[in-house]
Symmetry: C2
Subunit: 215 residues, 2 copies
DNA sequence: TACATTATGTAGTAGACACTACATTTCAAT
DNA sequence: ATTGAAATGTAGTGTCTACTACATAATGTA
């Protein structure tokens, strides 16, 4: 309406993505990382682009050179953060085939939360704050990351069932869901109180419950 | 700086609260209720005063006649919501002395979440979104409400221990914490998926764990 | 080297929103 | 009935912020 410069259709814009140079890739990454970090600490609504620009040492034009909107940047940041969250739990998360592995995994989670720069917080914060309102795209992304997380747990428990470590009555689906709930609730309370105890207790409780199905 | 009309100190303003008439009380309440309802659904950051004004059918001047800032209104709304949350769990929450009572309480929680207008959501949403950033006052209020909630649970479990329903090894403090984590995580996931299953499973799991301490 | 494309800097614009000044109406107490 | 305070209406103001236009610098490629 007010801007007269070139306007192209969505299709064109979609396929016309400028190819990034090495420097461009680095800048883009710098922006995404800064965004992810801020988002993690202050939530989506609590972060403005100017903050991100300052943190990444770039100008507004750079942000809009690499992303078409704040929403797109946020999505990229969430992608990164989910990746970090899942990677941070390796190799235990991908190999949950024994009670020892479960315990080790729990220790990793607590350590991650304890480590100040809790990447876990993002999932919580973003998820909860954007859940009911605003952006369905973001919600979907987080939900997907979450499912991946839960799937690892369910697969691990399923294998434990198949290998005869758990009794047949054990329902991996339910147990995985209970575990994820415990983790999320534990993280929420831990973050609220600035103390990892809730996460530890919540995790331990579900772990004990799973152990009660031990053959 | 730009406004030349009367300026008074915080002390004066604090003690100079206008006395409300019957009508005034009603209007104030209407505003708080509308705010609480919106906050519950869209989170603190997701609600602007104009929305609240429309929902309550009042003008901006009325809002600022009864509250000195958005923050103050939000706090009043949270107070109301916490009260509703705790009241909604009566009489079971205050009388958790048996496994039957625990089960009935769980059913109430699920029903509250199912009931669309989930007052439970507020705690989550507000808590998580305000956790890291912004308003420490709001955070404190929510944290207090939360503690009251948890205290009821702990007291109930303690009584069950004293009455010999639970074995001595049962640690009411830990069990209460695990229960609260499960509830919060369950609510979070339930809200994310639009399905109360996570809450049900999470609650049931901790309940089974508590039952494992049965004499 | 020439040139097209990418990367970055500067300086804005429009809109959303919290909050305000001031005028008018309603109402309760004397 | 009078009057002072409370309740409500109208019409803003300034700030924050997402986003943009346009100019310049850097860079890969022929």
């Amino acid at each position: 309406m007010w801007y007269i410069d070139f306007m192209d259709t969505d299709e064109e814009r979609g396929s016309e993505r400028p190819r990034l140079t090495t420097k461009g890739i680095a800048t883009r990454q710098k922006i995404v990382q800064a965004a992810a970090d801020l988002l993690c600490h202050r939530g989506i609504a609590g972060v403005c682009l100017e903050d991100i620009q300052k943190a990444a040492n770039v100008g507004a034009s750079q942000v809009y050179h690499y992303f078409s909107s704040k929403q797109e940047l946020v999505q990229a940041a969430i992608d990164l953060q989910i990746q970090l969250i899942l990677e941070g739990q390796q190799p235990f998360l991908i190999d949950l085939r024994s009670f020892e592995a479960l315990e080790a995994w729990g220790r990793i989670l607590v350590a991650m939360q304890k480590n100040g720069q809790n990447p876990l917080g993002l999932v919580l914060t973003s998820m909860a704050s954007e859940l009911s309102g605003s952006d369905p795209q973001v919600r979907l992304k987080i939900s997907e990351g979450f499912d991946r997380w839960e799937n690892h747990v369910r697969e691990g428990l399923t294998k434990m069932g198949e290998q005869g470590i758990l009794r047949e009555e054990a329902d991996p689906q339910k147990l995985a869901l209970a575990m994820m709930s415990a983790i999320q609730g534990g993280l929420l309370l831990s973050q609220a109180r600035g103390d990892t105890k809730p996460l530890e207790v919540a995790f331990e409780t579900v772990l004990r419950h799973i152990q009660s199905f031990q053959v």
